[in-house]
């Protein structure tokens, strides 16, 4: 699948932002006043920045408002509604905390739940696609949730919790890679795609067109698979190992936290890039790819 920078930025940044907001809603860290303003500003900047990046991915954004209408059937629609609900509820909590020094615990708890719901709906957009077997696995939602919670814990200054969550995330990422490699295209082949398996082995003789097209650009991306091993090592080392070691074995200062967060961010960018780039779509079988 084509790793569109806007979608990678959206899923990673908004995941981190919603993670931080969820922790703030639960009162971690127990900040008030202007310090809490800085935390909320960071959370909102990441979450809203990510959402705006996702709008950049649309070819016809003037109709984006209609995306709130189909929550009965569409995970993408549910995501939009959950995101707006989470940001609105957290705004009430944040305003009360920053300007009036009042901690509305229930509102915070509800906001935190909505933040996690948003990330879950994001993960389900990918998980639901049977056409991309590497995404259509039970590991996809927990990987997204642990990205959100682990990164959120890092940003919220919870070193122990962050280390545990990120270690879990690392283990699950490795599991997903192995299971995804084994799964391949889940039994779909050029023979099932064309129905010509009844004759024998099928190969593409001539593609339907000599140039590129939307289908090939979007769903037959091949660069990422070549560098899969390197990117996996990069994602694990920077996204998981460096921040976990820093959080567990060094005194937590602003500097170590900053290094841990930057390393984590670069690592998850690599991991998320790979999440798209190495995912194979079954329709590419019609092009022999």
């Amino acid at each position: 699948m084509h790793p569109a920078p806007s979608v990678i930025a959206f899923t990673t940044l908004s995941g981190l932002g919603f993670g931080l907001l969820a922790f703030l809603g639960l009162g971690l860290p127990p900040v008030t006043g202007w310090v809490s303003f800085v935390f909320f500003f960071l959370g909102y900047a990441l979450a809203v920045g990510g959402l705006l990046a996702s709008v950049a991915h649309l070819a016809n954004p003037k109709n984006a408002i209609k995306a709130f209408s189909q929550w009965r059937s569409s995970w993408l629609s549910r995501e939009g509604i959950a995101a707006v609900a989470a940001l609105s509820v957290m705004a009430v909590f944040a305003i009360a905390l920053i300007f009036f020094d009042i901690r509305l615990r229930l509102v915070g708890l509800l906001g935190a739940l909505l933040c996690l719901t948003t990330v879950f709906t994001t993960s389900m957009i990918y998980t639901q696609l049977k056409t991309v077997p590497r995404w259509n696995m039970w590991t996809t939602p927990p990987v997204f949730m642990l990205h959100c919670l682990g990164g959120g814990a890092l940003l919220a200054g919870q070193p122990r919790l962050a280390a545990i969550l990120l270690a879990l995330l690392g283990a699950l990422m490795v599991w997903a890679w192995i299971e995804g490699d084994e799964k391949g295209r889940a039994g779909s082949t050029m023979e099932t795609a064309t129905g010509l398996g009844r004759i024998g082995k099928v190969r593409l003789l001539e593609p339907p067109h000599s140039g590129e097209n939307y289908l090939l650009k979007e769903m037959a991306y091949q660069v990422g698979r070549k560098h899969a091993v390197k990117l996996r090592v990069l994602a694990l080392a920077l996204g998981i190992v460096v921040p976990v070691l820093l959080m567990l074995f060094l005194p937590v200062t602003h500097f170590t936290a900053f290094v841990a967060i930057i390393a984590h961010l670069v690592g998850i960018f690599a991991g998320r890039w790979l999440f798209f780039a190495e995912a194979e779509h079954v329709q590419a079988l019609y092009y022999g790819r």
Binding site: A67, S69, S74, L129, T131, G195, L196, L204, Q283, Y286
Partner: protein, 243 residues
Amino acid sequence: MTSLPQTTEKKLGLVIDLDTCVGCHACVVSCKEWNTSNYGAPLSDIDAYGAEPHGTFLNRVHSFEAQPESGCSQTVHFPKSCLHCEDAPCVTVCPTGASYKREEDGIVLVNEDDCMGCGLCAWSCPYGARELDEIFGVMKKCTLCVDRIYNDNIPEEDRVPSCVRTCPSNARHFGDLGDPESDVSKLVAAREGFDLMPELGTKPVNKYLPPRLKDQPSKAELTPQHTDAKGLFAWLDKALEKL
């Protein structure tokens, strides 16, 4: 709502005969011609006369080679467009309600006034039947020529999809696959029509008819002729042998 209808009154669709398709791409051209000037936004072409021409098509013809365990391989031309699936994943994933399946005839359509161009429906389609138009930013797909098949303003013989009307080898058939007595249903039954990627559970309405198996080449060997030549030919035979 982008929920799928429980059942549809008709199941209009295509039956494509892989045995008779000659791979001329006439259906591709006629589809582009009809649909660029009728339903919805045009099907744009980019760099049409340049080095890297590309554009939006609703129907494309692939060519495959199938190699049996023994004998010659078989070349199969393979037209592919939207299969108007009964369990169409492209409809339920749509967040704006632009993508829908009609209750009356089962045709899957995109209401371009609602489409925001997110591309998720194209991701959910196993067949590569949907293409996002680069210029107009909306999702394009086969409409089964919904603006021809019910059109009283054109002669009756033209009230079929453009690809079906134009196919010179009669490899494309249009009809109600929900009616077991229809010509297309009988054709599917007689020729053992099949679904593409049935393992994905999309229940396509369109069916494909398998190519008939090729004859095996004759095993008879050439027998040497005129071994008992006489006279001039016998002398010639000997002389040539000695050369």
